[in-house]
Amino acid sequence: MRMPTSRQLMMVIAACGGVALLAIVAATLLGVVTAEIAVLLALGGGTFGGVLVLGLWLRRLDGKVQRLSERVARQAARPAPEPPRSEPLEPRLQRVEAAVTHLGDVADRLEDRVGTILATLGEDRVEAVYRHKHYTELLTEVAADLRRVTEDARALVESAATARDGGPRAAEAPRGERRAD
């Protein structure tokens, strides 16, 4: 059975007390009881009501305590919840370490490759400088030779022309200066 609330209890007790008080007043007016006895009955009824309210309130309190105890017992009897499962740290660390090492190796390899490429470029550059120098010297020599040959050819042409016009004596001198090359 559901326990009445304290307000309901107070309303029932107040209604009962009011009826009892009306009955005492009526009895006193009708002269069934004397005034003194009526006061005594009123006081006795009031005390009885108070004791009843107190008893009911205690019972209600006891019920509450019992429910709390049961709840605590239920909670205590329930199995403890398992902690959330976590993966062991060591393998993860090893994986991270391997990844870092791999990255380092890759970086080293790349660095090596870049170094090799740069070294090749540097070597090519140095060789190119020397080759340029070499070809420049060659070109200078060829230009000088060409100039000399041109001058010789021009002189020959001139001497041939002179020989045609002026006779053998003028033609002999340049022929004697002809170079073997």
Partner: protein, 655 residues
């Protein structure tokens, strides 16, 4: 290159176990990985700043790289209890000698050398005159697995560790004395050790005065200081070796100046890297000098025999590993770490007589190696060296050229020719040739053999043993060198005549030549070189080529050369005048004077070095014409390498 040192138990020493204090550790020629193998992981740490070679490892241990050390401050403020010096090879140890003044005094010094050539003489140190040696308590030399050596010393009072280091370097080099010729140099900058290896007299200060030294070498500097004050000696600057990658930078053209001439290449330490140990008939074929992991490596049969140091410095241990190869073919593409380092590798190998084959050399290498050396290495093919004799001829040409242009003495002459020309001793040493004869008919021939000597300043002391002076006057008058005639009593034994003639010699070196043998034009110059790189007291050549005149045959006998021996051919004895006086001259006997002299030198603790035999042909006539009276069968019965009908001379004889 630490050889078997990893098994020498140095890690406990480095940790300071056994109640000893933790040592101060110095290294030279030992790479990071090798140091970790020797002393435990984490020992090696690269310096974080230029010249910052002083670093402590995680355990607080001080590790110093002597190749990268700054020369302007000592390594430690005061004496230390124990110093541990780790050197890769003898060549590296000699570089450490240059900075010996930076090492602190120590009560205990341990020096470990990773790898010496097999059968190297035991390194027994000889104490110098330093008073600290009086406090010596214990000295121990131990060999680890035939190639590595550890030398431990203990003193009752701290002694400058540099003194112990010098003594050790002399011991490993087998010399009683070791010095660099003048001028006296001050060294500055990081990497200066590469420029004057094995010089115990180097000045280490950045602010030298003229009274301290004659010239300053600044390593790693682009140019010499601007106008120097009056009291500061002249400065020679040499830039740090430039790697190929630097030439690829936008400012790469600026580095081309370092390729201008051969004096930009650090010298070859001829006392450590030389033809010693050359094999005339190697068991293996040709190797390749090719790029492996950023450096040049000598590869044979896909196996890396040697990986050269990044600096290009060749060590004695490197050379020893290459001796069994017939030759080394150079793959030019990606030449080592940079042009200077590449040229340095080639110069070192050439100085050691490793037959190099390098066709089509790039243009940049010509000024760094010198045109002659470049021609030599590029002018041969493998087929030209398949014959042992041709291969040795090529090797001799290489070593001559390399030692004369890239050796330490030659390099310093080039470096300081303008700055201190007055400091140099003469380039051509004075050699007195002692020639004793009792055959007037051989005199003109003998004089022609002396006259064709080049590269030395020759003086002739002619000992006449029964030949009247008048008979030689005419022949002697026409020779282009000074001649001193010594007319000896014909009744005297040959030893006594030689003693009289030797007493008249005035050269730095004195040599004995025979009147009937053939000598190549570089015979004396090669012996001068051999004396410089071997440090031996007595030198000579073997009687490897013998012309047997009676039967018209020339034989090449099997002789080990470029090594220390008990005797050398009597007609090639070569020594300092001091040695002759110390030993007391020849025994006054008529025969076996040369053998007796060699015996006396050995007994006195001297060493006899036999150079190559390609400059000398012994003429064998009837036995009665000689003091060495072996029958002709003696020259034919032995195992000969080769035999020619008639007279034969190898190309180096230039006959």
């Amino acid at each position: 290159m630490i050889g078997a040192l990893a098994r020498a138990g140095l890690a406990p020493v480095a940790r300071g176990d056994g109640g000893r204090e933790r040592p101060l550790i110095a290294r030279v020629g030992v790479e990071d990985g090798e140091l970790d193998r020797l002393l435990g992981p984490g020992t090696a740490r690269r310096p974080e700043r230029p010249g910052g070679a002083r670093d402590r490892d995680a355990s607080g241990r001080m590790v110093i790289d002597l190749d990268e050390v700054e020369v302007n401050r000592p390594i430690a403020e005061g004496p230390v209890a124990h110093l541990l010096l780790l050197a890769g090879t003898m060549t590296d140890l000699r570089r450490a000698v240059t900075v010996r003044a930076l090492l602190p005094p120590a009560k205990s010094v341990t020096i470990a050398v990773g790898e010496l050539p097999y059968l190297h003489p035991a390194p027994l140190p000889v104490a110098s005159g330093h008073p600290g040696w009086r406090h010596l308590l214990d000295l121990r030399v131990r060999m680890i697995e035939k190639r590595s050596w550890v030398l431990e010393t203990e003193f009752s009072e701290p002694i400058p560790a540099g003194e112990v280091l010098s003594a050790a370097a002399r011991a490993f080099g087998g010399d009683h004395l070791d010095a660099m010729p003048q001028p006296r140099a001050a060294l500055a900058g990081v990497g200066a050790t590469h420029w004057r290896p094995g010089d115990p007299n180097a000045v280490l200060t950045t602010t030298p005065r003229k009274g301290d030294c004659d010239v300053v070498l600044k390593a790693g500097a682009e140019d010499a200081a601007e106008s120097a004050p009056e009291d500061v000696p002249p400065v020679v600057a040499r830039p740090e070796p430039v790697e190929w990658t630097r030439f690829a930078e936008p400012s790469g053209y600026g580095h081309l100046a370092v390729l201008s001439d051969l004096s930009m290449v650090p010298p070859v330490d001829e006392r450590a890297v030389n033809p010693g140990g050359f094999l005339q008939s190697p068991p293996h074929g040709y190797g390749r000098l090719e790029q492996r992991a950023g450096r040049w490596a000598a590869v044979y049969d896909d196996r890396v025999l040697v990986r050269f140091a990044a600096s290009g410095g060749v060590t004695d241990a490197d050379v020893a590993r290459l001796r069994k190869l017939r030759g080394l073919r150079v793959e030019w593409r990606l030449s080592h770490t940079g042009p200077i380092a590449a040229a340095r590798v080639l110069a070192g190998l050439a100085a050691a007589g490793v037959p190099l084959i390098a066709p089509d050399p790039p243009d940049w290498v010509r000024p760094l190696l010198g045109p002659e050396l470049c021609e030599l290495i590029s002018g041969v093919a493998e087929a030209d060296l398949d014959d042992d004799l041709d291969r040795e001829v090529h090797s001799v040409r290489l070593r001559r050229r390399a030692l004369r242009t890239h050796g330490t003495r030659a390099r310093w002459r080039q470096l300081t020719a303008d700055e201190v020309p007055e400091a140099h001793v003469a380039a051509a040493p004075k050699v007195s040739v002692v020639l004793c004869t009792r055959r007037a008919d051989m005199l003109r021939f003998a004089l022609s053999q002396v006259a064709r000597q080049r590269g030395v300043d020759v003086e002739l002391v002619l000992g006449l043993h029964g030949v009247p002076r008048e008979k030689v006057t005419e022949a002697v008058r026409s020779v282009p060198f000074p001649v001193t005639v010594c007319e000896a009593d014909p009744s005297l034994p040959l030893g006594a005549v030689l003693n009289q003639a030797f007493a008249l010699a005035s050269g730095t070196f004195v040599t004995k030549m025979d009147d009937d043998d053939w000598y190549g034009p570089d015979h004396l110059a090669d012996l001068v070189l051999a004396q410089m790189y071997s440090g031996a007291e007595l030198l000579g050549a073997p009687a490897e080529f013998v012309h047997l005149e009676q039967i018209g045959v020339t034989v090449q006998r099997s002789r080990r050369t470029e090594c220390f021996r008990d005797t050398v051919a009597g007609g090639t004895l070569f020594m300092t005048r001091t040695l002759f006086e110390t030993v007391g001259g020849f025994r006054p006997v008529p025969r076996h004077v040369d053998g007796e002299f060699c015996r006396a030198v050995r007994a006195a603790g001297g060493r006899i070095y036999q150079a190559h035999g390609l400059n000398y042909i012994l003429r064998r006539r009837a036995a009665e014409g000689h003091t060495w009276r072996e029958p002709i069968g003696y020259f034919l019965a032995q195992r000969n390498r080769r035999q020619w009908r008639g007279w034969y001379a190898n190309p180096l004889m230039e006959l």
